[in-house]
Symmetry: C2
Subunit: 158 residues, 2 copies
DNA sequence: GCAAATTAATGATTTATTCAAG
DNA sequence: CTTGAATAAATCATTAATTTGC
């Protein structure tokens, strides 16, 4: 019994299904590199139809995919006999220079330096209204990054 | 009028008060390096008494403080004439080796390699129960990292 | 004394590395 | 060996110190 329920039943790490990977790669090829919270939320919901998944999985997937593609590029450009970069295939090749291509390839807002990614630590457990004082402005830039470390209690078996 | 309201009234970036810094440094000296969500939550609540603050500020503070202390150590050890490390002061000095001292200096669970920091993307907006299927185990390790990117909508003026 | 101009600190993000499950 | 997860290093961007010319 318990015929392989795919996903990660034991609760270890996410194991994407083919459908999920397909969609993610499609999005990636479409130019998505650093989806924002809203996008992640949507993607997660969508991918959730094909198996259990959390927002962080989507987030990490993009991070890793981006990083590894970059590293692959670097390796191949270094490893291939012809001099690093150059070779000019008459097409304007990207030649991403080791690092510096960030800045969102997102289809919209092409400029945008690198600005804010805020959090929303709020809504963690209860709404405990901190020392909610002169707070009016907080919505201007502040928005949901949510980064957060936690070790449940002590060691994790290992 | 409007005699300097300290904190960050305009809503740009967190500017810690002396009390806040004092507490943070105390905790740091006490050995805290990578507080978990619960701890951050508590610290935030505490520091909130002295001025507006969010969980991410606490998180970042520790990250930066740790990194900058490490970098300072490195600089001084390189700059100082006597050979790096050694000198053996008969006490077992820490000699943190450029990197590798992580692993929580937390008073408890001294072993613990570097394990998980989970998320809790859940509770972002509504509780939309994803594809909540065989999910029993998810509480074991999974817990509140909350990392999260977001650009509200489009460009942020700059 | 006081702002504009520079510099030093340091808060916030992103990228590179590392660890380890499968 | 691939790749999800997590941490550390590098970088960017603001704010506070400070210097400087008036």
């Amino acid at each position: 019994m318990c015929l392989h329920v795919k996903t990660h039943p034991g609760g270890t790490r996410w194991n994407p299904t083919q459908e999920q990977i397909g969609i993610l790669e499609m999005l990636y090829r479409g130019g998505m590199r650093t989806p924002n919270a809203q996008q992640i939320e949507q993607i997660t919901t969508q991918l959730g139809k094909y198996g259990k998944i959390e927002g962080k999985n989507v987030f990490y997937w993009f991070q890793n995919h981006k990083a590894r593609e970059r590293q692959k590029q670097k390796r191949s450009s270094l490893g291939l006999s012809h001099s690093p970069r150059s070779s000019s295939t008459s097409f304007s090749t990207i030649t991403l220079s080791t690092r510096g291509d960030n800045k969102q390839v997102q289809e919209s807002s092409p400029i945008l330096k690198r600005k804010c990614r805020a959090w929303s630590f709020e809504k963690l457990e209860e709404d405990k209204s901190y020392s909610r004082r002169e707070d009016e402005e907080s919505d201007k830039i502040n928005k949901t990054l949510e980064l957060f470390p936690l070790h449940p209690e002590g060691r994790i078996i290992n």
